[in-house]
């Protein structure tokens, strides 16, 4: 029972997140142009029956914009986590090939870890001119070192395993060992790493967008909604910041929970 509990918990969380994701992804389809539809006679309306989570300064429904924003955040998080994990896995595998390559990978990891990653993130996103692509690249290229270090350590431990020795003794090539032994072993770790990277990426997307170097101000990204809300908070329009913020918090917490559950289960 004790062994199955973490798995059950992870499964329950996964179910919850799956539902959330279903709403977000299908929202792209059924929300249509609702997140951008303006109602000039219902500007800054508070939450109520007519406007569930209230409206913004142009009379756009906040619930639709929050959902659309979370959908965008998910997209960025997914792509950045995928790209970041792929870089980490690729470099960790490369490091196993020769001591020189390993030294190079370690140097890369140490260099990147020595620079505050928020500064690097801002610089990369700014240099790439902002937008979805820039945010994904900025987050992915600054967040692989942690995972790469874990994967490298795992693979180096594996190098001394008896079945790898046997494989080598049987004359298998380095490429064969890489693909058939190292890669399958590293993949589950990589999956957990990607899931842990996911909420991080979402938060960074929101931060970059909030600071003006992320997604376009015309997109209903969570960072944009929060930055807009800042301008109106002093006027007492609390709902503009509270609901998008809560949505972001819920999504990040849920995904983090799954990642932790999965790590324990594995």
């Amino acid at each position: 029972m004790n062994a199955t509990q973490p798995r059950l918990r992870a499964l329950a969380c996964s179910g919850f997140v799956a539902l959330l994701l279903l709403a977000l992804l299908s929202g792209q389809w059924w929300l249509g142009d609702l997140p951008g539809r303006m109602q000039f006679d219902a500007r800054l309306a508070p939450p109520g029956v007519d406007h569930w989570l209230g409206t913004d300064a142009l009379g756009r429904e906040l619930w639709a914009r929050t959902l659309a924003g979370l959908g965008l955040s998910f997209q960025v998080g997914f792509l950045a986590a995928l790209l970041g994990s792929a870089i980490a896995l690729g470099l960790a595998l490369l490091a196993t090939l020769s001591p020189r390559l390993d030294a190079l990978v370690r140097l890369l990891i140490d260099t990147l870890l020595s620079v505050p990653h928020l500064i690097l993130l801002l610089l990369i996103a700014f240099a790439l001119g902002g937008g979805l692509q820039a945010v994904v690249i900025a987050v992915a290229t600054t967040h692989w070192p942690g995972l790469a270090r874990v994967l490298r350590a795992e693979l180096f431990q594996l190098r001394t395993a008896p079945y790898i020795d046997i494989s080598r003794a049987l004359g298998k090539s380095r490429g064969f060992i890489l693909l058939h032994h190292f890669l399958p072993h590293a993949l589950p770790h990589c999956l957990v790493g990607a899931l842990l990277l996911f909420p991080h990426a979402i938060l960074h997307e929101a931060a970059l967008t909030f600071l003006g170097v992320g997604l376009s101000p015309s997109q209903p990204a969570i960072g944009i909604l929060l930055a807009d809300a800042m301008r109106y908070l002093s006027g007492g329009y609390w709902w503009l910041g509270v609901f998008p913020g809560l949505g972001l918090l819920l999504m990040v917490l849920s995904i983090e929970r799954i990642a932790h559950g999965l790590r324990r289960a594995l």
């Binding site: 001119g129 015309s218 002093s234």
Partner: protein, 529 residues
């Protein structure tokens, strides 16, 4: 990222200023009006381009009703051939180091500004010559009626040949004959100035002025804590003022509109490398339909919170703009009929198409400007029912210049007390000249009217030509003619002002929120004990 930290530091600094010097309320004013000049306070490089350069004096100035009045000049005449201005200077003008301001300084300023390539357009100036200590002659290459505006805007600097004369570092250490002199400038943070004891005019009421250079949030926070006496506000925040402040509006000709690329896209590039042309906006039917679809009063209401008025041209209400340019809009029926007649047909995607080209184009705006962003988003929504998709796209100014300026419709703003701006915006000679005429507008009839205006014998005659360039009954740059812009709104500049500060009659501001409010600084009074 820095703004919350900066807010705290500047808020604390402003608070300390007030606490450390409690009796200074009448002696010192703290202003947060933005507009810190990147190149410093050098008139030769553009400082004071809209007049009232604070540290320097100009030859002439404008009253609140825009009429000219003497400043450094006591008399000014234009020769019959309109090629020579003769200016007589007052004899009591002194720089803030006590030395006298002479005709040599004026001649130096004009000759140096012509060579400096700053924002002051002195291309018409052939030579400035000091006739004696108090008279200077400005000779032009050709008649140019708008040259008088340079007499209003160009601050006079000390000649380079004299002690403390103009040099490379002048922008950081300005020396002039204006009402105030610089004490300290901490770039990106604050500017402190004090009275110029040698100023020839009325002594300002306030011994010291502190200008804080803060963002919107920091400005509002400082206003709440009583740290500033006057602050520029975005219209959306005008209703959220603390009790010790009131909102004061300054009418302006500071406008915002959509600049359309006028040429079809044929792969041509500007000298900057940016692509020129847009096949959709090059069609006059599209431009006119957009002009007809915009509900300008709603834009004023929604975007400017009511602080503004609808705009139909670049200089609404000024003598060189036609008064009959207002169109009945929104008129979607007429707009749709125009598009139908031009061959733009609706298709399954809801958009109009013509020869396979969908009626879709980017509407670019500077990403950090919330007013322009809202204008872009709301105007795109107003045009959508026509089957035209304007895609609001936020970019940094650098990217706008590099990528969008000549091929995207761009939300831009102008507004000047001089008709020279009309010349820059619509004369084909200025196509691709920076932000002026960035849509490559060219109409020989309009060029002809603009040139006739510049060569006119007097302002009244010139105004008739300026107006004809807008619409002469057959063509023009205005909405009834080529509709090269869709002008949307004229902003009213909003300031939060301490209830004890009487700022008098603020007049009409040109483009640029901030410094124009200081035009009548000498009239400001503190009304509390």
């Amino acid at each position: 990222m820095l703004s919350p930290l900066r807010t705290l530091i500047l808020g604390a600094a402003a608070g300390c200023l007030m606490i450390a010097n409690p009796a200074s309320a009448k002696e010192q004013l703290v202003l947060a009006i933005g507009g810190e000049p990147e190149q410093g306070f050098d008139p030769l490089l553009g400082w004071g381009q809209y007049g009232n350069p604070l540290f320097q004096s100009t030859l002439l100035s404008r009253r609140a009703d825009l009429d000219l009045e003497p400043e450094l000049a006591t008399a000014w005449t234009l020769s019959d051939d309109q090629l020579t201005w003769t200016i007589t200077l007052r004899d009591d003008a002194r720089f803030s180091d006590g030395s006298a301001l002479t005709a040599n300084d004026v001649a130096y300023t004009f000759n140096a500004a012509a060579q400096a390539g700053g924002r002051a357009d002195l291309s018409a100036l052939k030579e400035a010559t000091a006739l004696d200590d108090h008279r200077v002659a400005l000779t032009l290459h050709q008649p140019r009626i708008t040259f008088v505006d340079q007499l209003v805007t160009l601050g006079i600097v000390p000649a380079a040949s004299r002690e403390n004369g103009h040099g490379e570092d002048y922008g950081r250490h300005p020396l002039g004959s204006g009402p105030y002199q610089l004490v300290e400038w901490q770039e990106g943070e604050q500017l402190i100035v004090k009275r110029n004891p040698y100023f020839y005019g009325q002594t300002p009421d306030f011994e010291r002025l502190v200008f804080l250079f803060t963002g919107e949030d920091a400005t509002l926070n400082a206003a709440r804590t009583g740290g500033v006496d006057l602050a520029a506000l975005p219209p959306a925040l005008a209703n959220a003022l603390p009790s010790h402040m009131r909102a004061v509006t300054m009418q302006s000709v500071d406008n915002r509109g959509i600049m359309f690329p006028m040429q079809p896209a044929q792969g041509e590039r500007a000298p900057s490398g940016a692509l020129i042309g847009n096949d959709v906006t090059a069609d006059i039917a599209i431009r006119r339909a957009i002009n007809l679809a915009l509900d300008r009063p709603t834009l004023v209401d929604v975007v400017l919170n009511g602080f503004g008025r609808p705009a139909f041209g670049p200089a609404d209400g000024l003598p060189w703009s036609r008064r009959d340019e207002d169109i009945q809009a929104p008129d979607l029926e007429q707009a749709n009929a125009l598009l139908d007649a031009a061959g733009w047909q609706r298709q399954g995607d809801g958009l109009r198409h013509k020869q396979g080209q969908p009626a879709r184009f980017r509407l670019t705006y500077p990403a950090g400007d919330s007013t322009r962003q809202l204008l872009a988003e709301v105007s795109a929504e107003m045009v959508r029912p026509l089957g035209i998709e304007m895609q609001p796209t936020g970019r940094h100014w650098d990217d706008i210049q590099r990528l969008a300026l000549h091929q995207d419709a761009v939300v831009m703003g102008f507004g000047s007390h001089s008709p020279q701006e009309i010349y820059y915006l619509y004369h084909s000679q200025h196509a691709g000249n920076g932000f002026y005429n960035s849509g490559y507008y060219a109409n020989p009839a309009v060029d002809h009217h603009l040139e006739a205006a510049q060569a006119a014998a007097n302002t009244h005659a010139a105004n008739r030509h300026w107006q004809a360039a807008q619409w002469d009954g057959e063509t023009g740059y205005g909405v009834r003619g080529d509709a090269s812009w869709a002008w949307m709104v004229n902003l009213a500049h909003v300031y939060a002002v301490d209830t004890c500060l009487d700022v008098g009659d603020l007049g009409v501001a040109p483009h640029g929120h901030g410094w124009p409010v200081t035009a009548n600084l000498l009239e400001w009074r503190w009304t509390c004990d």
